[in-house]
Symmetry: C2
Subunit: 226 residues, 2 copies
DNA sequence: TCAAAAGTGTTTCCCTTACACCCATGC
DNA sequence: GCATGGGTGTAAGGGAAACACTTTTGA
C-alpha cells in the first residue's frame, strides 16, 4: 500500500452525531439544534460534526456532548454507522452515531450561545435534517431494549429519585403502563437501591421515599445485564 | 459550509471489515486471509478494504463477501465502528465492521486465487493484524446474544439439518452443554421447523429426522425476536 | 447382541402476571 | 374529612431446568 494508491479513497468524511436523551416532567426528550447553513438552514437536527484525522470517534462524541450541554461525564454508547451515499447533500459523509443519557437537571451545565437549541418530546419530534429521523428510530429501539436488559434508565434520573418516578420513566419509554406492585417487586429484588430518606416537596399526598443506587451492583448489571 | 473549509476533514479513510462465520465438523470457524503487504505482511486478518466515495457501507460489505467466498446472498449485519486513532499504522482509517453467517457447504462458491485464506476454529484464532482480535471478541458477544434471541443459528447450517446438529451448533457457540429434551421442546414449540424425512448417512445408530424452516415464521422471529 | 446415536415426559421451582385496598399528608 | 399520591401481598399460570430410559439401526 503506497500513498498515491490510497489517495483516491480519502475523499470522504466521517461525522459523529449525538442523540442526547433527557427526561423531564414525565417526558422523554431529545436535544435538537437549529441549523444555520444551507442546504438545511432553518431545519432542526441532532448535534453532529465532521471528525478530524487526529480525533477518535469517542473523543469527538464527548467533545460534542460538552459543546451541547457543557458536560463530558454522561453515559455515551455507540449506536450505528450510517453510510448511504446520498445521506449528506454536500458530499460523501459517513456518520457514526452515538446516543447519550443525561439528567436534565444536574448534567446540563450550559448551552452554546451560537446555536438555537431545544429539547423535544420524542413523539413530537418533527422532520429532521439528513437521516436524523432514521437515527432516532434506531436509537429508540436500542433504548427500549437496553432499558429492559440493563439498569440504564437510572442515568436519566437525578441521583435521588422515587420509585414512582422510575416507573413513570419506564412507562414513558416503553410506551405502555406497568403494574405498580410488580414493578416495585422487580426493582427492589435487584438489590441496587439505597434508601435515602423522604422527599420534601409540597405535593399533595403521602411523601415518597427517595432512593439512589449501590454503584457496585449497578456496575455489575451494566456489564452483564439482568 | 464551503469546500475549502471542509477539505481538512477529508484526509482520513473508511474501511469495511468482515467477520465471516462458518460451522463445520462441530466447530465455529472464522474466515481469515494472509496479508501480503507491510507492515503486516505474513500476518492473518479478516477481509477488509477501504471504501470508495461512491460505495455504501453495505455494498462494500457484500462486495467483500463476494470476493471472499464468491457469494453475495448470505446474512450480513453491522457490528460496530472502530475509530481509534492508531488502529491503522499507515494512516487514519475508521473501520465499520460487519459480520456474516454462511453455510460452509452451500454458500462458498469460490475463494480468491490471489490471497491465501483459511477457516480457523474460533478458540484457536491467533493474534491478528490491526484490531481484528478486538473485532472478533465483540462479534462473538453479538453472535451469542443473537443466537439466544433470534433464529439466527440456522444460517450456519445446511438447508436440511437434524436437531442434534442444531443443538451442537448452539453448544459450540454458547460454550456450554444444553439438555437435549429441553432443547428440543423449546425449538419445536417455536413452530418454525418442517419435517423433511430422514438422514441417509451410514453412521452407526438410529437415523435422525431432517428438518428445514418455515420461511415465513422464521422471518417473523428474525424481526421481533423470540 | 452390542454399540452408537435418536428420541421422548414428568416434576419442580421460580418468575411473571393479575388484581384491590389501606396509609400518610396537605388543604 | 377529603383529595392526592404512596405503599403493600397473594394466588394462579407458564416457562425453565433437572432428570433416565427406550428405540432404531448397522456391524
Amino acid at each position: 500500500m503506497n500513498t498515491d494508491k490510497i489517495t483516491s479513497f480519502f475523499n470522504l468524511g466521517v461525522s459523529v452525531t449525538l442523540v442526547i436523551y433527557g427526561f423531564e416532567e414525565g417526558q422523554l426528550k431529545v436535544f435538537t439544534q437549529k441549523i444555520s447553513k444551507n442546504p438545511y438552514a432553518g431545519a432542526w437536527s441532532f448535534p453532529g460534526k465532521l471528525i478530524k484525522s487526529d480525533e477518535s470517534l469517542e473523543d469527538a462524541a464527548y467533545t460534542m456532548l460538552d459543546e451541547a450541554i457543557g458536560n463530558t461525564k454522561p453515559y455515551i454508547e455507540q449506536l450505528n454507522a450510517f453510510g448511504k451515499i446520498t445521506r449528506h447533500p454536500l458530499g460523501r459523509v459517513i456518520d457514526v452515531t452515538f446516543y447519550s443519557l443525561i439528567n436534565m437537571k444536574s448534567d446540563v451545565k450550559s448551552y452554546r450561545a451560537d446555536k438555537e437549541s431545544k429539547w423535544v418530546h420524542v413523539p413530537k419530534v418533527p422532520e429532521l435534517a439528513y437521516d436524523h429521523n432514521e437515527m432516532l428510530n434506531l436509537a429508540m429501539l436500542r433504548l427500549r431494549r437496553r432499558l429492559i436488559n440493563r439498569p440504564i434508565g437510572f442515568k436519566l434520573l437525578p441521583a435521588e429519585f422515587t420509585l414512582g418516578e422510575l416507573q413513570a420513566l419506564y412507562e414513558e419509554i416503553l410506551g405502555h403502563e406497568l403494574d405498580k406492585r410488580n414493578f416495585r417487586k422487580k426493582v427492589t429484588k435487584l438489590n441496587i437501591l439505597l434508601t435515602k430518606g423522604h422527599e420534601t416537596t409540597d405535593n399533595p399526598g403521602r411523601k415518597p421515599r427517595l432512593f439512589s443506587f449501590d454503584p457496585e451492583k449497578y456496575a455489575n448489571y451494566m456489564e452483564q445485564g439482568f
